[in-house]
Symmetry: C2
């Protein structure tokens, strides 16, 4: 989830100066409209140390009209607060309808801090998070717009920031021992924060993560996000909601994870055959061992049309025992399937222990094609992210190895593959008018794919993004990941480590 | 919560034979309409041992058209089921749109059984229950109607049933050692079940508890409930929802808890003065001790107009230190209050440790006057039950003594009190046209009060129903309860036990 905020996003000073006046005007305008609305806006500014929560709040106070906004900082509890139930202080400080409440420090601060310092355990943390879900749902049920922003700084960015502050005699006093100590527990903090965000990212109160190394980028992105969410909520409440608004990305990003992939990676034919054989052999061994240990496996293959899902599946199953796997191709649902919850048809095919199910497209259709084509409403695909996370967490808790691949190609590569297929008689049936229609909506799909990866790449079930302009490269990379993940699940020594060092990038 | 199902409800054979034909016709008709609808119906038949889950399911199969209904019994997991995630078996057996799925044994069986047999602890149980909430919300979000029926048998009824079965040579074989063993753990089971029901009774999937000692009553009540819920859901989904349907009781009951109160109870003047002094003295002591131990207290006073809330409050505060309590009279919300969540104005006045807040009317207005007068929508008051339970659980967890009183009088008594007030100049202002208008909606309020008590009388925060036709009786009874509850919270020996034996009934 935090990968989306480690891409080196930045906005230079000229661009910043260019964007800000217009942004500020729009912020003030929307606040004017909001002041007449019948709902409050709750904005949480959370995040890692040094990501600039305080600066961000100051910036928003500068850009927005403080008459319609209040800032609340929650630190250690006062005596008054200690003598009441935990949430008393939050209930008291809720903004009224038409107003924005800006929170630095919130109902998330204590649970995360308690867990990082080992004062509570995982089960207790989940209790705190369940309470948060109830609380936020109560606010949302009452009409409140809940905006939760997580300012993220990578470990490197954080270390760099401390070094820079220290190097400068004017700012070195700002670096405390606590800062250095926090840096040491960065990995713990990151894992716990990610878990907390995943457990509390609901359709009614989703988290967005914003890269914060560059303050210009951070400030503009957060302000834009608030603007957009308020606009959308106003529209949705007034029921004059247009179709157009349905497909806006959850957050506007300058660069996306998909953008960051290097599609030029490839592998020559000879090396390919060598590697393919190597990994298929390893996979065959591992699959037998998994079967022996009665560990089941679910593979999810998603990707652009003509990205090479079919070819990859053939290479995967070549290493498997035919009695042991099933491939489930997902097309439009049947009547029977349509008469059930959309997850029902995927639950049906969950493998029993020791077996493998490969989904050729999957439940992610809900947040991809169904979103883009408008088959699912915004409410439906928004809540699908948490439904899917809940579904997948049940697989992983059961002990299933769950692997999710997105095969990524660019638009030119897709076109040339379409043309190629049309030339080959036995492949011609694979290209239809629909494929060309989908192509026209490329940028809509891009938005949907980025949101999908951001919201469903969890510590339990991460997405593996595969650079697939080179089919050979993609197949070897995917096979290798499959082997690694099974090794990890079975607790085996990694054959992949040593081999990987040889010649496979990525 | 189970008190509502220990009132001795029964329907005799003639009445049963009279009602059944019409009921069956309506059930078949509604199933016909349902078969064309775009949502499935999930009906859970759960409950205590011997309450007749199996019989109930057979009865429904007899009365309903089995072509549009399927029965699923979940017992121990099959090998096939053990080898998949827990919920796989439930997902597979979900009814399709237009159909009814009837479940005996469900996602509740394992968590409750595991807890009763001490194989999981309270925190783990809450984890299971949180998963259930997610699952049921996913079903409801998809449009499913979720009906959850708990068949309840009191401990006495259960013991009696076993004795009767054993006494008869033809049925004695049906009584197993397990049955006797279960009877021994009845109290544990009851507490755990009540907790589970409370935690999972949501607006989208509320529990109803049905008294099951009399099978005629049980069968007719459950069938009627299913009928009514399906009818309502069809109406709500077709958006032709009429105002009339808003105030239907959650479940039709023959007798209610309020009906079961004996309003003739009274106490003579001399005894009253003696008792009053006794309990006020004890309360004064206890209140000082609570303050010393820094235990806070919240008293909620609800009841019919002219039921005597004001008089009771005066007798209560006579025993308290004026610096230590505040009385919050709840009238229509101010503009500021209206601009916040409805619970906000109650959170404001939560006492700090060692202090007392007395609410003269309270947050229950949401499910009483706001429901009856239509100020809150059905969705709003339905979800208010769990919002209120969540709110109150936070008070109790903090250590606050929370006491909720409903002062109950009958309609005639109310009228004579209105008349009396009109005669006394300084009381005349207390009677307005509105009071007479409210009187006209007496039966609507009765429905709302019964639903309120049923859904918010929890093990943590039970309702105390006070028979108040005699003001003297009511005051003494309420004062005594206040003393008892503070004693319990402070872990003090009960002065109330011995005194109670003397002369105060109830």
């Amino acid at each position: 989830m935090f990968e989306v905020a480690e891409l080196g996003q930045a906005i230079d000073k000229d661009e910043f100066d260019h964007q800000v006046p217009h942004l500020r005007t729009r912020l003030l305008e929307i606040q004017q409209t909001l002041s007449q609305a019948d709902f409050p806006v709750v904005v949480l500014i959370s995040g890692s140390d040094g990501a600039g929560k305080g600066e961000m709040v100051n910036r928003l106070n500068e850009w927005l009209d403080p008459r319609y906004m209040r800032t609340f900082a929650f630190g250690d509890k006062t005596q008054d607060e200690r003598e009441r139930p935990d949430y008393w202080r939050f209930w008291r400080k809720l903004p009224q309808k038409g107003r924005i409440g800006l929170y630095v420090g919130s109902w998330y601060s204590d649970p995360i801090a308690l867990r990082v310092s080992h004062r509570i355990n995982d089960v207790e943390l989940d209790g705190y998070l369940a309470r948060i879900r109830l609380f936020e749902r109560e606010l949302a049920d009452d009409g409140a717009l809940v905006i939760k922003v997580w300012l993220h700084l990578s470990k490197e960015a954080q270390a760099k920031r401390l070094d820079e502050l220290e190097a400068n005699p004017l700012t070195s006093w700002r670096v405390t021992e606590l800062d250095r100590k926090h840096l040491q527990t960065y990995d713990d903090f990151r894992g716990i924060a990610e878990h907390a965000l995943r457990q509390t990212s609901s359709a009614e109160a989703p988290w967005v993560v914003v890269e914060s190394a560059d303050t210009n980028y951070r400030d503009i992105t957060v302000a834009n996000h608030i603007l957009q969410r308020v606009e959308y909520h106003l529209q949705a409440r007034s029921e004059q909601q247009e179709g157009d608004v349905e497909n806006v990305p959850l957050i506007q990003r300058q660069k996306t994870l998909l953008d960051s992939l290097d599609l030029h990676q490839s592998i020559d034919k000879q090396a390919y055959h060598h590697e393919l054989e190597l990994w298929q052999g390893r996979l065959a061994e591992l699959a037998r061992e998994a079967q022996r240990q009665r560990v089941s496996m679910v593979l999810v293959l998603e990707g652009w049309d003509a990205a090479g899902k079919g070819g990859l599946i053939r290479r995967l199953v070549a290493a498997l025992d035919a009695r042991n796997y099933q491939i489930i191709p997902i097309a439009a649902p049947t009547d029977e399937e349509r008469a059930h919850h959309y997850l029902w048809r995927f639950w049906r095919h969950i493998p029993r222990d020791g077996k493998v199910t490969i989904y050729d497209r999957s439940w992610y259709g809900r947040v991809l094609v169904e979103r883009v084509e408008g088959f699912a409403s915004r409410a439906e695909w928004m809540r699908a992210y948490s439904e899917i996370n809940h579904f997948e967490s049940q697989l992983v808790e059961h002990g299933t190895v769950l692997l999710k691949f997105w095969l990524h190609i660019d638009k030119d590569e897709q076109l040339s593959r379409f043309k190629e297929r049309e030339k080959i008689s036995y492949k011609r049936h694979k290209i239809t008018d629909e494929d060309y229609r989908n192509r026209e909506r490329w940028s809509d799909y891009e938005v949907a794919v980025n949101d999908m990866v951001e919201r469903t790449s969890t510590e339990l079930a991460p997405w593996h993004l595969i650079e697939a302009n080179s089919k050979r490269f993609a197949r070897v990379k995917a096979l290798k990941i499959v082997c690694q993940q099974i090794e990890q699940r079975l607790g085996l020594a990694s054959a992949t480590e040593s081999a990987a060092a040889e010649d496979i990038p990525g």
